[in-house]
Every structure is written in structure tokens, then in C-alpha cells.
């Protein structure tokens, strides 16, 4: 047990360290950063904002991690968010119950995932292109539902998902933490994780070993669709309206970035949901930090690029092996001595 814990600690160390450093830097630029207070039944403060604002990317990153582990990629998540937000808003304004609305919305997301999965697994289309189709068309579908306008709603239940709170935390935070935990347990307590990794590393060999590669691939994209649906509901509930034009716009890139910052290889294989969630928080910290720091917006992208490059350089295999090499250079001396005896 302590062994697995240690393995986790080693795996997550770079992400935790990067997050800590960024938070520290932000707190230098903005002294009140770590201040937390209790207002309106929930914790309130910049740290909570990061958790809260990072919810969509965190949710997307969960699905994206699994898709990337299968050596795929899902560019459509932003568009699927928009579709699902639109469906939720349309359904609730049409007077359907909250439960019905959520069910329909989530089914829509899963269906979008199914479409992607079938293109990738059955028709054998390259993931980037297969999901590009829905990325392009999806936003159109969302706009078709809202007719290009922002579809606003006042249903308190749906709004609660966006700005309510539970256990002293904003609902979006509760949702992504909870969902992340469920998915992480699902893949690690069953054999799913290993099978997904096997498919990502070598699809042929996995198939020859009896792994249902097709089903797993489709399931991965469906999970991604489900995550996008949750993110879409949160995004819509947050602003009390479905903005088909802008909901989730370019968020797929942030989600992919979160996964990579989390250390999962884009070539598939080994993955960690926890690390991706940390990656999402790192990205959101950068975003929030930029907002708090008060730089003119022209500099946003440059700052973001610089920080990301820095994090990735530190995480890159080369830097890591240099690190290992350094620590070994120190550690080998006594070993040599033993050999001499």
C-alpha cells in the first residue's frame, strides 16, 4: 500500500511542484491570493475561483486523458459542450423537468462520443480528422438549436449546478472532483486502465491478445462525450444561458494541454487522471493569475506560452534523465565502493 502511495507521489511530483510554483508566483503579484473566507454557505476566494473556473477544462481533461491513452485525440469536445449546453437550455425552457433535461443532455454528449468512436474504431478514420468533423459541424448543430442567440433560462435547479454549492464548495468543483474520482476508480479498480493502455500502445497486439479494441475505443470517445456534456451543462448553468457560439470555444486545446502537462504521452499508453486534473488546475492558475496580475491583455498569450514552455521543458524526458543522471552520479559512489569489497 505504501508502495503504491510512493509510486503516486513520484508520478505526480512534477505537476504538484509546478502548481505550487505558479500559485506562489501569483501570490507575489497579488498578495490576497491565498485568502479564503466563508460567504453564502461556501468558501470564497481566488483559490476557489481557480477550482471553479477550471471545472470545464478539468472535466474535458478526464475524457481527453482516456482518449489520448488510446492514442487518439478528441478535437470535438468544445463543440459537444456547445451542443449539450444548447440541448439543456432548450429542454429546460421547453418546460421539461430537470431530471429529464439532464438525462437528455448527457445522452446527447454520449451520442456524440459514439459517433466519434464509430468513425475511429469502425471506419478507421484518423482520430484528429474524425473528430474534426464534429468540431466543425457541432457548433453549427448547437447554433441550429439556439438559432444563434443566447438561450437564457431561469430554472433554479439548473442554475444551482452552475453556481450553487455543496459541502461548502461550488457545485462545479464538487462535480469535477467527484466525477474524476469515479472515473479514476473505475479505470484503476477494474482492468479497464490496463486494457486501454494496451490498446494505445499496440492496437494490433492487443487485438490478437483478445482485447476488444473496438469496444474500448468507442467507450473512450463516449466517455469523452459524457465529460463534454457535463462541462457543457456547467458552462451553460454558470451564465444561465446556452451560448452556442462561444461555449467551449478552443477549450479542446486547453484540455489537450492539461493532459500533456499532466504527463500523459500523446502517443498513447500510460495515463493518469489525477495528473491531468492537476494539469487542468495548472492551466487555470495561469489564466486566473494573468487576470489578477493586471497586465494588459495583449500580453496574455505570451505569458501563457512562456509558462507552458517552462513547465514542459522541466517535464521533458531529457531534463528528467539529466535529473536522474545527476542524482545517480551522487548515488553511485557508495555502490562502487561496495563492489570493490
Amino acid at each position: 500500500m505504501t508502495g503504491t502511495f510512493k509510486a503516486y507521489a513520484v508520478r505526480l511530483f512534477p505537476q504538484v511542484a509546478a502548481l505550487a510554483i505558479i500559485l506562489f508566483m501569483v501570490s507575489l503579484a497579488f498578495p490576497g491570493f491565498f485568502k479564503l473566507s466563508f460567504q453564502n454557505d461556501r468558501l470564497y476566494g481566488s483559490l476557489i475561483d481557480i477550482l471553479n473556473r477550471g471545472a470545464p477544462v478539468a472535466l474535458l481533461a478526464i475524457g481527453m486523458t482516456v482518449v489520448i491513452a488510446t492514442k487518439g485525440i478528441d478535437l470535438s469536445v468544445g463543440a459537444v459542450m456547445a451542443i449539450c449546453g444548447a440541448v439543456a437550455a432548450a429542454s429546460i425552457t421547453a418546460g421539461h423537468s430537470l431530471a429529464f433535461t439532464l438525462a437528455v443532455t448527457i445522452s446527447t454528449g454520449v451520442l456524440c462520443g459514439l459517433w466519434n468512436g464509430v468513425l475511429v474504431a469502425v471506419l478507421d478514420i484518423q482520430p484528429i480528422i474524425a473528430t474534426l468533423v464534429l468540431m466543425v459541424a457541432g457548433r453549427g448543430i448547437a447554433q441550429l438549436i439556439t438559432e444563434g442567440a443566447i438561450l437564457t433560462f431561469n430554472h433554479p435547479g439548473l442554475i444551482f449546478i452552475g453556481s450553487g454549492s455543496l459541502f461548502g464548495l461550488p457545485m462545479p468543483v464538487v462535480i469535477w472532483l467527484g466525477f474524476g474520482l469515479i472515473v479514476a476508480l473505475l479505470v484503476r479498480r477494474t482492468a479497464l486502465g490496463m486494457l486501454i493502455e494496451a490498446v494505445g500502445v499496440n492496437r494490433r497486439a492487443s487485438r490478437l491478445s483478445g482485447v476488444s479494441t473496438g469496444v474500448l475505443l468507442i467507450a473512450a470517445y463516449m466517455l469523452s462525450g459524457l465529460c463534454a456534456a457535463l462541462a457543457g451543462i456547467i458552462a451553460a448553468a454558470d451564465i444561465r444561458g446556452a451560448d452556442a457560439n462561444n461555449a467551449g470555444l478552443w477549450l479542446e486545446l486547453d484540455a489537450i494541454l492539461a493532459v500533456v502537462v499532466g504527463g500523459t504521452s500523446l502517443l498513447g499508453g500510460r495515463f493518469s487522471i489525477a495528473a491531468s486534473l492537476l494539469g487542468a488546475m495548472i492551466i487555470q492558475s495561469i489564466n486566473t493569475g494573468i487576470l489578477l496580475s493586471g497586465f494588459p491583455p495583449e500580453f496574455n498569450l505570451i505569458i501563457k506560452a512562456a509558462i507552458i514552455v517552462l513547465i514542459l521543458v522541466i517535464q521533458s524526458p531529457r531534463a528528467q534523465s539529466a535529473f536522474i543522471w545527476l542524482s545517480r552520479a551522487r548515488a553511485t559512489e557508495p555502490t562502487k565502493g561496495q563492489e570493490a569489497k
Binding site: 442567440a149 454558470d238 491583455p297
Partner: protein, 295 residues
């Protein structure tokens, strides 16, 4: 008459309304409207214009995504004897290349909003935060400029923070949240100026969630006059908005009609009104009027 209409895209409710109104106006006049959506890309607009020319339309309406880069394609249209009318934004090209421009004055809009704020605070010290539009877009640049001009020389008013909210509700809310945190929970903020209503609506929610009263604790002024902001005004949560009318096509078609039928040259600039609405203007009534326009 066949008219090609190159629209920027459908990035906001306002633009959707403009598209709807253009189509309605065309239908009303029996015009065959060829609509092309450029998905926010100038290159697509130029392509669309070229296709319209190749197709041989009678006139072209274009809502240019950016001010520069139109000379060549407009010259081609001119060579093909196709009049071009610009909608809602002007461009940086020789005036003889297009028939007329039906636009509002973006700088003026910012100015109106700024004036309102100056008048409302009436000399009291006031820290303003600004939610900019998409960095680099002409409404963002001009509305910022107009607003700053109105505030110039008024020492009691100070823009303390200014960030981009990308014209969206989500970003408007997120940026406002961080402004509130950065300015002592919002106690240092007396007004928020948003480059469009959508961001203002997002900001209003952020202010409410921070436990303050928008419209009272923090004044809210924005531009566009989309229906949702009137609801907020009716609830006392927003204070003022400057209208940007989505009906640019009506005057454009009128001008085209006159030009094609009687050869009458319209003025080079048909400016639409930048009307200021405040809580005193029966917001619910305006809301009902605007609701059905496809915003």
C-alpha cells in the same frame, strides 16, 4: 434583384439578429438574398465576394470583419459594375470603391457610455473596471477609445483594471470575478464598463455571487442593447446601454434601390443612431419589442 450578403459569422446574438433582419428586409422587398457566412475569417469574406462577382449578382452587402484589405476585391467588383454596401463597420479603402457604408460610430458609442457615467457619478470619485472585447477587434479598440475620451480630464474617474472578456458571457463573468477579488472584494469598484451587453450580463452574475448589488453597489454600463440587458435593467441590475441597431440592411437596401433605379448616389456614410437606454426608459417594453428579432 439578386444581392449577395457576406456576413462575418454568428459569433453573438447581436449578429444573429442582424442576419435575421437582413433576411427579413430582403424578403419584404422581394430581393433574392445570397447569404454567405465567413466564420469570422476575412479570407472567407474575400472568397465570398469573389464568388458573388463570378456568379454575377446585382449588388453586394458586406459586414467587414476588419477594416483593412479590401481594395483589391472591391476594385474587382467595381470593374464588374457591382455596387457594394458596407454594413455596421467602415473600412480603410478609397471611398469610390464602395457605394456607401451603413454603420454606427463605434467611438461615439463608447463616448455615449462614458458621458453617461461621467454625468451619473457627478464628480464623486469612482474607480471603473473595463471588460474589453476581443483583443484587436475594431469594436474593442474603438469603444475603449470613445470611453476614454469621455473620461479624459475627469480626475474623479479612473479606469483601474481593464482586461479582455472576449465579448462572451463566460469570460465576462470570469474576468469580473477576478476584478472583484483583486479590488478588495469589489469595495473599490464603483462602476463596470463592458464593451458589449453579454459581458455585462456575465459581470452582473459575478457581482451578485460576490454578495454585492449590481446596479447599486456597482454601476453597470454597456453597449449593444440586446434584449437580455433590458431584463437586467428592469430588475435594477444594469444601469445603461447604448443601442447598436441590427437593422443596417434596411437603409442599405433603400440606398441600393435608389441607386440602381434612379442612379442616385447616396451619401458615403449613413450613420445609424447610437441611442442611450437607461432604467428610466421602460426596459420591459423594449425587451418585448426586441425579443422576437433573433437576438
Amino acid at each position: 434583384m439578386t444581392v449577395g450578403f457576406s456576413q462575418i459569422g454568428s459569433e453573438s446574438g447581436w449578429r444573429a439578429a442582424e442576419t435575421t433582419l437582413t433576411k427579413q428586409q430582403a424578403e419584404k422587398r422581394g430581393i433574392d438574398l445570397k447569404f454567405a457566412d465567413a466564420q469570422q475569417k476575412q479570407e472567407n469574406q474575400i472568397k465570398a465576394l469573389r464568388s458573388f462577382i463570378a456568379q454575377g449578382v446585382d449588388a453586394i452587402l458586406v459586414a467587414p470583419v476588419v477594416a483593412t484589405g479590401w481594395d483589391e476585391v472591391l476594385q474587382e467588383a467595381k470593374d464588374a459594375n457591382i455596387p457594394v454596401v458596407l454594413l455596421d463597420r467602415t473600412i480603410d479603402a478609397p471611398k469610390e470603391l464602395y457605394l456607401t457604408a451603413v454603420t454606427s460610430d463605434l467611438v461615439h458609442e463608447g463616448n455615449v457610455a462614458g458621458k453617461w457615467l461621467v454625468d451619473t457619478v457627478a464628480g464623486k470619485p469612482c474607480n471603473v473596471v473595463e471588460l474589453q472585447g476581443t483583443t484587436g477587434s475594431s469594436p474593442a479598440i474603438d469603444r475603449k477609445k470613445g470611453f476614454e475620451e469621455a473620461l479624459a480630464g475627469k480626475d474623479n474617474l479612473k479606469i483601474v483594471r481593464s482586461q479582455t472578456g472576449d465579448f462572451t458571457r463566460t469570460k465576462g463573468k470570469e474576468v469580473m470575478e477576478s476584478f472583484l477579488k483583486a479590488e478588495d472584494g469589489g469595495k473599490n469598484i464603483c462602476a463596470v464598463y463592458a464593451h458589449n451587453d453579454d459581458m455585462a450580463v456575465g459581470a452582473i452574475q459575478a457581482i451578485k455571487e460576490a454578495g454585492l448589488k449590481p446596479g447599486t453597489d456597482i454601476l453597470v454600463v454597456s453597449i449593444d442593447a440586446v434584449p437580455d440587458i433590458f431584463q437586467a435593467m428592469a430588475a435594477g441590475e444594469a444601469n445603461a446601454t447604448v443601442e447598436l441597431t441590427p437593422n443596417m440592411a434596411g437603409p442599405a437596401f433603400d440606398a441600393l434601390d435608389a441607386f440602381i433605379k434612379d442612379g442616385k448616389e447616396p451619401p458615403k456614410w449613413i450613420q445609424t443612431e447610437s441611442k442611450l437606454y437607461t432604467q428610466a426608459d421602460d426596459p420591459m417594453k423594449v425587451y418585448e419589442e426586441k425579443k422576437g428579432l433573433g437576438y
